[in-house]
Symmetry: D2
Subunit: 252 residues, 4 copies
């Protein structure tokens, strides 16, 4: 089972414009620093956070219990002008896990409620013996040669976003998630998806929009090790001149 | 005229997997911190950076000269395990400006060339008297009520990404850019676009995918002030119950 | 027993002037960020770091094992232009613990050796059942009224440094350490010191230089809880109008 | 003339214990990050900040005007749970400048007044044509060989603190300041001090406590360039095997 946490800034929208709109660069710095900090705190326990919408972040948190979550909320409250609420859910698929996490938090009040503050709403946690995380690290074949070094920077980012949107659309139909993690890289928490299903999605995208993708797939009891195994999978594909679409690596 | 800078991490891809893949959480922290730091340094001169692909960032840099750019490169080199190269371009539209910036840098070598390092490639700079930045701050009407508080966190981010992809596609055809800036917010450097063109794009997206958007449009000689004017425009629309699609605010 | 870790930047001095002196503000930011980051990583396991000399930091690390230390080294290497080596020691007193930690690292090579890099030299670790940390949180009575609000900022910092130097001198004779932690606050890892010994030191300093101090003393199996108990001790003294010199609070 | 700014966290002491004592590691991270951030913002204009007491920082701010100061206050307010007030003073000596800065701020209310918030109290600013900064960068001769590599880490830091206290005491008598900047390094804003006076202080300390010091002295219109010139001075002394006590370098 995979455990996911939704991290939501409390009442953020109204705060950004009270008493008047805050300087955009400050908000960008605040959001990036908050993401980096939550990442550090969750990574200390081998979890992994995705920036998602920055004011709403999703994280794989297998291995983190209630106290671990509360310590993160406390540390953020002590160092930021805002506070965070969290929902936690565990399920067989990543989409179900984040849905349970979201619903648990939604039951405590709205994201822009001025009453709801620093809530920790736990729907379910993964037992250590059931802990299992499958992630696919997906990137674009030869992006530097085919895009970065010849297209304009914005047009390259447009193509990357296009790949992202197609990946999100198709993976979501299989109850998997998809996050952009920078460069030409995406990460998909995809418990329950077979290798064939992942490969088929990559082939479909190549046929539909002509963007060649490959995926290293890692499996272990936690996000950190699975992400590392997925990276090893990507390296194996690169060593074989990108002839394979996917490569699965299990942590023994 | 608008001036744009491409900030590119030198030879980043190979570095992330040498001698073996680096811990993903560390890379995520590194990228977010780098973005936050470059933002601080560029914002000190009233510019504004968009995280774009993190290893490739685009910035509006009206008001920053060659020395300002070099100081940023030096500060990053002194504090990070990586270095950055930059290209700078000025043009009547944001897309042309970033294209000139990209081409200037591409002429100095590839993004994964181990020889190209800390290049500052300036195609053109905006003269103070010609400096003009138009940005649209676009957000989704009632996103908290219609998405955040009722859909799962991932499904909301999927809808936001969908809006982003449609906005990118349409704005790019008009030589404007579009960046996600967190939450349900997008910012479009859009020098040269008329109010009608922007409104038409928002109407089209509402008709095509049923996502209601609004845009505050700000104009001034620099990115900071234009972004602030755009925020004021959004506030005016909100005060009118989102009945208007757009609102333009010029800095006097 | 108390466990202490010495965190030392490898070959830092030469790096700061190669190929020419690096901008001082960048070095100050680098050092402060490194301290903040190491603090986050060690605090995730309830340890506590003191900035000490910044290029050499001392930390109370009861509860952190070899893998915890290695993860910190890896994360720093992945995000900074420098690397860190560490020595770890455990003993009945804090001074002995840091001495053992230092000696373990010194045996591996000099701080400015270009060969010694990312060493983890463990002399000894504290067993969980023997883990015990006593810290005194010491501050100056009424510093705002008697110094901050009437003296110049530098003269106040001079008086604080004077108190620090006297505290360091006297506590060191009792095998306790003393670190400045900002404001008018000091923290002393002081396993083995009796309440009377601490009180006598505060009385002596009052008599010798006329600076009134008080100390909350906390005891628990780890640095985080002991520091919190010490804070509670200080609050109790304040509630009694600073009539007591010390207050001990044990974590039950 | 030298311009100095006092940066003071508003009502910080009470905040750190309300509603109960905040986690010490969080406060240490907050203080270090705040220092690093203020440093970035002031360094963008070639100023230099010293961490001093962290809740009270002193900075050389030649070249920064009222708007520059206000922008720093705004950025901190937008990203931290605390706000800062500032006092600014200009004078022939650094001690007088910081005294004027402190007095200007003290007149606006106490550091722990709950009413005084985000004050910018400017006593005086330096005119560009009168701008002059003299700083001495002082370090300990052969600290690695004589202390770091043979003494325990705490005992080395004790010796460094001892040097600091003697330097502070003597320089203050000459209206110069002295700040610890990490390692075995100190920086003294010392407008008005002659080379002979500085050399005499170093000789006295060597005779009194047996710690050999050297000083590079830099002069220019701003802190950044003067600090760099001082570094060049230190390098020249090192190249001469530390035979000279001081070396002055003027920016042409």
């Amino acid at each position: 089972m995979i455990q996911m946490t939704l991290i939501q800034i409390d009442n953020y929208g109204p705060w950004t414009v009270t008493p008047r709109p805050r300087t955009e660069s400050d908000l960008q710095i605040l959001q990036a620093e908050l993401f980096a900090d939550v990442q550090r705190l969750i990574a200390a326990k081998k979890g992994l956070v995705f920036f998602t919408r920055f004011d709403n972040m999703l994280a794989i948190t297998n291995g983190l219990d209630a106290e671990d979550h509360m310590r993160i909320q406390r540390s953020i409250k002590n160092r930021y002008p805002i506070t965070i609420s969290m929902g936690v859910g565990a399920a067989e698929t990543a989409h179900d896990a984040q849905r349970l996490a979201t619903e648990a938090l939604q039951r405590e009040g709205g994201a822009q409620s001025s009453e709801r503050k620093e809530i920790l709403a736990i729907d379910s946690l993964v037992d250590p013996e059931d802990s299992f995380v499958q992630v696919a690290h997906i990137d674009i074949n030869s992006v530097t040669e085919t895009l970065t070094d010849i297209e304009s920077a914005f047009d390259t980012s447009f193509m990357v976003n296009r790949a992202q949107h197609y990946l999100m659309t198709k993976l979501r139909e299989h109850k998997a998630l998809l996050f952009f993690i920078g460069g030409d890289n995406f990460m998909s928490p995809c418990n329950g998806l077979s290798e064939e299903e992942i490969q088929d999605i990559l082939i479909e995208i190549d046929e539909e929009i002509g963007i060649g993708l490959k995926a290293g797939i890692g499996r272990s009891p936690n996000a950190e090790d699975s992400a590392y195994m997925a990276d090893i999978g990507l390296e194996i594909i690169r060593d074989g001149n990108n002839e394979k679409w996917i490569e699965v690596v299990d942590k023994l």
